[in-house]
């Protein structure tokens, strides 16, 4: 592959690859960062929604009612869905992980196993392409009464991230074109000096087979080229002289 391309072409190709790879790598890095930031924004939004429900439910729990007997929970959960359109469902779980209330009626009675323990803070867990955000419910006696779990579509950050990646990728590639041209011009300018020097070497060596003056070219590179050219020319002169002698002897005979 490399054998068919000269150095300037290889350098230009290398610089183009470097710029394209750098653009794509940075796009990937920024996209990953943006995905993380968008997730944090979604988590923050979910945290607020969960906090609102928690406050409302704990106020009612503090009246001494059991979790399953709390009134007006369904409108609260439906309102929470309205506060965050990406939410698939909001569920209130009892201490055993069984869904007691949910904005999606089919979930009521289901048991959600493997949820993180209640630490008093909002937790997040990825499960089956969805994100679960949750927070514990505490009674006024500091005992756990269950959890509130928000189910959010996994696409909530994926779709904006994809849009971001596409936007950045296209913009980056458009920017890459002038950078490639600029780098190519700078690279070729850098190679100009060595190219001239090597051209002078080539012309000096080519002149040895043409019986021309190797030093008529001006800027000829330093040793060992003059010594080599001298050695070759001396040998060629010696051979020419010996050939003349042999021809003379041939004619004499």
């Amino acid at each position: 592959m490399g054998a068919s391309m000269g150095f300037p072409a290889r350098l230009a190709a290398f610089l183009a690859v470097v710029v394209l790879v750098s653009t794509l790598a940075m796009t990937a890095l920024w996209t990953q960062g943006q995905h993380r930031r968008l997730h944090a924004a979604v988590a923050s939004h979910a945290g607020f929604v969960l906090g609102e429900i928690k406050t409302a439910l704990e106020t009612r729990l503090n009246l001494g009612l059991a979790l399953a007997d709390l009134p007006q929970v369904q409108p609260l959960l439906d309102g929470a869905r309205g506060a965050m359109p990406a939410v698939l469902s909001v569920a209130v779980l009892d201490e055993d992980g069984a869904v007691v209330f949910s904005s999606s009626p089919v979930e009521v009675g289901e048991r959600l196993a493997g949820l993180p323990a209640d630490t008093g803070a909002v937790w997040a867990q990825e499960r089956g392409g969805e994100w679960l955000y949750g927070i514990g419910l505490t009674t006024s006696f500091d005992t756990s009464a269950g959890q509130i779990v928000l189910r959010v579509s996994g696409d909530v950050a994926v779709e904006p991230t994809r849009t971001f990646a596409l936007k950045l990728g296209i913009g980056g590639l458009l920017l890459a074109v002038p950078v490639i041209l600029l780098a190519g011009a700078a690279g070729l300018r850098l190679t100009r000096g060595p190219r001239r020097s090597v051209e002078a070497v080539a012309e000096t060596l080519e002149s040895l087979t043409r019986d021309a003056d190797p030093y008529a070219l001006g800027d000829v590179p330093d040793a060992p080229l003059p010594a080599f050219a001298g050695a070759v020319r001396a040998r060629l002169a010696l051979l020419a002289e010996a050939e003349r002698d042999v021809s003379r002897l041939d004619e004499m005979a």
């Binding site: 470097v18 890095l29 012309e203 050695a231 070759v232």
Partner: protein
Amino acid sequence: MTAIVPTRRFTLGIAGTAAGAALLAMAGVGVLGTLAAEEQLAEARLAKAAAVGHAVQRDLHRALGHGIPLDRVEGMTAYLQGIAERNPDLHRLAVTAADGRTLHAAGPGAAEGPSAVRLPLQAGSAPGSAVVGHLLVAVDPGAARAQIAGELMGVVLGAAALLLLVAELAGALVQAAVRSPLGRLERALAAGAAGDFGTLLGRRPRDQVGRALLAFNAAVFHLHERRQRFAAHAEEVRGAVFDPGIAEQVEQTRARALERLGDGGAAAPRRVADPRPGDARAYAALLSAALVSGCLGSLDAAIGLAALFGLAVGWSVPSSWTRIDTALAAVALGAAALLGAGPMVGAAGAVGLAVAARYARAAGEDAPSILRPILTGALAALLWSAARGTPGAAVEAAVLAAAALPAVLPLVRRP
């Protein structure tokens, strides 16, 4: 007068140009990324601000429904303060009267501006009730940029990883394409100046360097051809003349000329296979980066043992297998990384690195010259992994291993 082989400054210049181009491209992506990220994050924050606003609006409507005027709602400022403290990404919450006066407020910023949600507060629940004020929830317009700036270290580490690899590969390119062949030409010229014309230089692309090597070969071959022609002509004349005296003189002229020409041009010049030690550098840097990327997430004793086994195998295979070995090692490493087969990643990568190191050593390269690209590749992989925050990135390992494949082609190329 100038030197035939470009100085190290030329190599540094090319490496600097490549690194500068990469930096420029990365900076451009960074600016675009910051602008696009700010726009998206502002939307996400405003969505949360709207949710907060609707929740507060609901509570205020309840108070207004009981006939309590907005400026008389007890504990309103403390309530808003509590929300602002629990949601530090909210810059300002404020309740204003119908004439725009601020009645209650919390948070350090201003409530007006493009990054704020403004919701009407109505006296009654019936549609068309009089608007008695507004609720404003604002997010900090500079918060997204501050968040991005706080996470810039990851981008800087990723950029450093790329720049390290780019500089190493640029150095390897200049070494393989310019410095190495011109160094060989310089040595061959010195040998010729000392009377040794027995070497022809290897094939090169038809660029300036290739033209110079071709011209050298032509000069050497021309000298050899002239010598052969003269010897043959003298031999022919000596055999053709009847006068023994002249035949003797021809023989003496021939012997004297050949003696003065020396032994250096007696044998036909041979094209000598050139080991080209610099060719292994790009391969070693890329494969080392792939190996470290592929192993980082699951480094254990099994991978260590597999790597040791790979080193032993790579060091002991016949040198004629170099090209096939290195190609197979790169393909196996890429495939193993994608499949998540840690020990196979270690073994394949170690085989490739051992073959490259042995090749460079056999070609007369000193240890630092091959160790440097290996360490550069490993360091670049570590920096990239730190930037991503995810060790053991399979895709990166596979891509780097695939990128190492073209670098295999120059290894042990026939002269």
